[in-house]
């Protein structure tokens, strides 16, 4: 990570009031109340200027107003291509402000419980599978159902090769032969483990509630492989009690029957089918390098356009270039973006987060969400934030990269999963050890073909 200058930048003629820490109301709600007393740009008329680096007292709504003010009163020269952050300190003051502003955006709640670098809290020994109390078989309509295929939960490359080279009979014979050898963890494994950690916390606080994560194994696999899969689940102490082994027929119908909120698969065609049915879905790939992720906090990162939001802005960008894109975003700042395929999943995460907030665990919440977008904070990012706010969705950290590569930022965040619609970013993230999932949605698909051929099943 590049060292950015954090020298305080005195902002002249900008009167802001710090928001109190530990406020029980959500910051969005705060802003509504203050609206009446404020001027056109929604900035309170108190006179105490505050240094922008006093980060603990700056709420996102404040940042939001700062940015709005900035874009109108100061002509920021925005780079029209990615600029490397290491040159930031060499540039003029306006860009330095952008950099500082960018840093301000990043921290909604100051990280008290964990470091930026992603602390690894190692749990010694195996977690006891027997849990006392709590709901274990929630009704699908109440739970947040995450369906994973066996190929992303576990590593099955060897078996895949057997299937491709020797056919299905030999493949099944091989699986049965190796029935007592558990598979190794796959790319979705840390994510699923983190979901279970959240469940454990939820059960502590709400033992009778069915609002939990429900993990379902949905695979094309033949039931002959069933025993090996069940042995593997037991071996890794996973809490997966529901599964569908469809023996070759499409699992998409079952996704709907399970009221699936998110489907993760290695097969891009199945993912596309799921997206067409309105189910949030993404393709996952095995990476050799995997950075350590937190074992106590689930971290989910999303791209903005064509993931949380629709791809309308990307269309403009692809068709007419960056300048037209900025213009369009500015003109339409107050028009909400349309929703994208993963908006529903973010919503589901938010609902669970609120359950922790209700019990006073906002700072220690085991779910943290991130927006990692190529949009820029002071201009095109505003529309994104306004849209999220209008949807009533809170996101913990919003990172506006203004075109900079996402890999290094993700490596700092260490999410358990990162969703992006462009293979270019997915691969970039994977190179730096982040588990990234591709959402094959929107106009970007015509331009970015995945590097790996879509494998069978």
């Amino acid at each position: 990570m590049v060292k950015m200058s954090l020298d305080p930048v005195q902002v002249k003629e900008l009167n802001v009031s710090p928001s109190p820490n530990g406020d029980s109301r959500a910051s969005w709600e705060e802003e509504e109340v203050e609206e009446e007393e404020e001027d056109r740009l929604g900035i309170a008329t108190k006179t105490k200027p505050v240094s922008v680096t006093d980060l603990s007292s700056v709420s996102p709504s404040l940042c939001f107003r700062l940015a709005a003010r900035m874009s109108r009163t100061q002509k920021l020269s925005l780079p029209d291509s990615r600029f490397p952050f290491q040159e930031a300190s060499d540039r003029g003051s306006s860009e330095l402000f952008t950099t500082s502003l960018f840093k301000v955006w990043c921290l909604r709640c100051p990280p008290v419980a964990h470091q930026w670098g992603g602390a690894s809290d190692k749990v010694t020994g195996r977690r006891a599978r027997k849990v006392e109390g709590g709901v274990f078989f929630p009704k699908p309509e109440n739970a947040v159902t995450v369906a994973v295929s066996s190929r992303v939960l576990f590593r099955t490359e060897l078996e895949q090769r057997v299937f491709e080279q020797k056919g299905v009979e030999e493949y099944l014979r091989y699986q049965i032969e190796h029935e007592n050898e558990p598979f190794a963890p796959g790319p979705a494994f840390p994510f699923v483990k983190a979901l279970e950690t959240v469940n454990a916390r939820l059960r502590e606080l709400y033992p009778q509630s069915e609002e939990l994560f429900d993990i379902v194994l949905v695979t094309y696999n033949h039931a002959h492989v069933g025993i090996r899969l069940i042995n593997t689940i037991n071996h890794h102490n996973l809490f997966i009690e529901r599964f569908c082994m469809t023996g070759g027929s499409s699992p998409i119908g079952y996704l709907k029957a399970w009221q699936t909120n998110l489907y993760l698969s290695a097969d891009a065609d199945k993912v596309r089918e799921a997206l067409a049915e309105g189910i949030a879905a993404a393709t996952m790939f095995m990476t050799e390098k995997l950075t350590e992720v937190s074992e106590s906090q689930l971290r989910v990162a999303f791209d903005g356009d064509a993931v949380l939001f629709s791809d309308e802005s990307e269309r403009i960008f692809k068709a007419h270039g960056l300048d037209k894109f900025f213009q369009h975003e500015q003109d339409n700042e107050d028009t909400l973006l349309d929703h994208g395929p993963l908006k529903g999943f973010l919503e589901a995460l938010g609902k669970l987060q609120k359950k922790f907030y209700a019990k006073g665990q906002r700072l220690d919440c085991p779910i943290r969400t991130y927006l990692v977008t190529a949009r820029s904070a002071a201009s095109s990012g505003i529309r994104a934030l306004k849209t999220l706010r209008a949807w009533g969705l809170e996101i913990d950290e919003a990172l506006f990269l203004a075109g900079a590569p996402k890999g290094p930022m993700l490596e700092k965040i260490r999410p358990h999963i990162y969703f992006d619609d462009q293979m270019f970013h997915v691969e970039g993230a994977a190179e730096m050890g982040t588990v990234a999932a591709h959402v094959p949605y929107g106009v970007a698909q015509k331009h970015n073909q995945p590097q790996k051929p879509g494998a069978r099943k």
């Binding site: 299905v168 069933g226 042995n231 082994m245 029957a257």
Partner: protein, 231 residues
């Protein structure tokens, strides 16, 4: 030696309907078995049992021939004598659209199953087994049809084994409703030890059965007589 599968209606329309749904697929299995081995003896033999009066009977017979269903035999029996008729005819599986009738018959020791309610467009015969029964080996009282169930699944397994993994005209589907994944694993292993390899497995762990059943569209649902088969 034939595998006797009997369709038992109490109202003849239902019987024909049931026969029609399952019958075509049964026939297909027989055809494929004979293709592989013209001297095959492990085949399905369909017996249609009517428990209504003689007048309706002729209607049944003409209906089945109208639909082109190969019914091996027709039996006419009264309701009270139904079980006896089944035993006398060496019926190994009694199919009905009437849950109570199926329950009654299984309590007397003859394995019975429900006919799937939905139109199953799939060509292959889909037989669904309810795994919860399989996993409770020592439940009290032991269901009367337990022995019949075990031998039937062995024969079914033999039949299934005649075909390969893909393109089989017969599919075996296992569904467990209440236990977790471990108990489904036990069911899979138990069935395998009886010689029956399952094609598809679904572990519901308490999730409502209806939506999954409507996707599975089995022709026959085999339980232990104690399963509440709602769809």
């Amino acid at each position: 030696r034939y595998r006797e599968v009997s369709f038992g209606p109490t109202v003849e329309d239902r019987g024909v309907e049931g026969t029609r749904r399952g019958g075509k697929s049964l026939q297909k299995v027989n055809e494929r078995l004979l293709e592989k081995n013209p001297a095959e003896s492990l085949l399905f033999d369909v017996v249609l049992i009517a428990t209504d009066s003689q007048q309706q009977s002729s209607r049944i017979i003409s209906s089945t021939s109208h639909y082109g269903l190969e019914v091996g035999r027709f039996c006419f029996s009264s309701r009270e004598d139904l079980v006896e008729t089944l035993v006398v005819n060496n019926v190994q599986l009694f199919l009905s659209t009437d849950r109570d009738e199926a329950l009654q018959v299984s309590q007397k020791g003859v394995l019975s199953a429900l006919l799937g309610r939905q139109e199953a467009p799939s060509e292959s015969l889909r037989v669904m087994l309810c795994g919860d029964a399989i996993v409770r080996p020592d439940c009290d009282p032991v269901p009367a049809s337990r022995g019949a169930a075990q031998s039937f699944s062995a024969r079914l397994g033999e039949m299934r084994g005649r075909f390969g993994v893909s393109g089989s005209p017969l599919s075996i589907v296992l569904v467990t409703s209440s236990g977790g994944s471990k108990s489904c694993g036990v069911a899979l292993q138990t069935l395998r030890s009886r010689g029956l390899s399952v094609d598809e497995a679904y572990c519901l762990a308490g999730a409502p059965r209806g939506p999954i059943l409507s996707l599975l569209r089995p022709h026959f649902l085999l339980g232990d007589g104690v399963i509440d088969l709602e769809d």
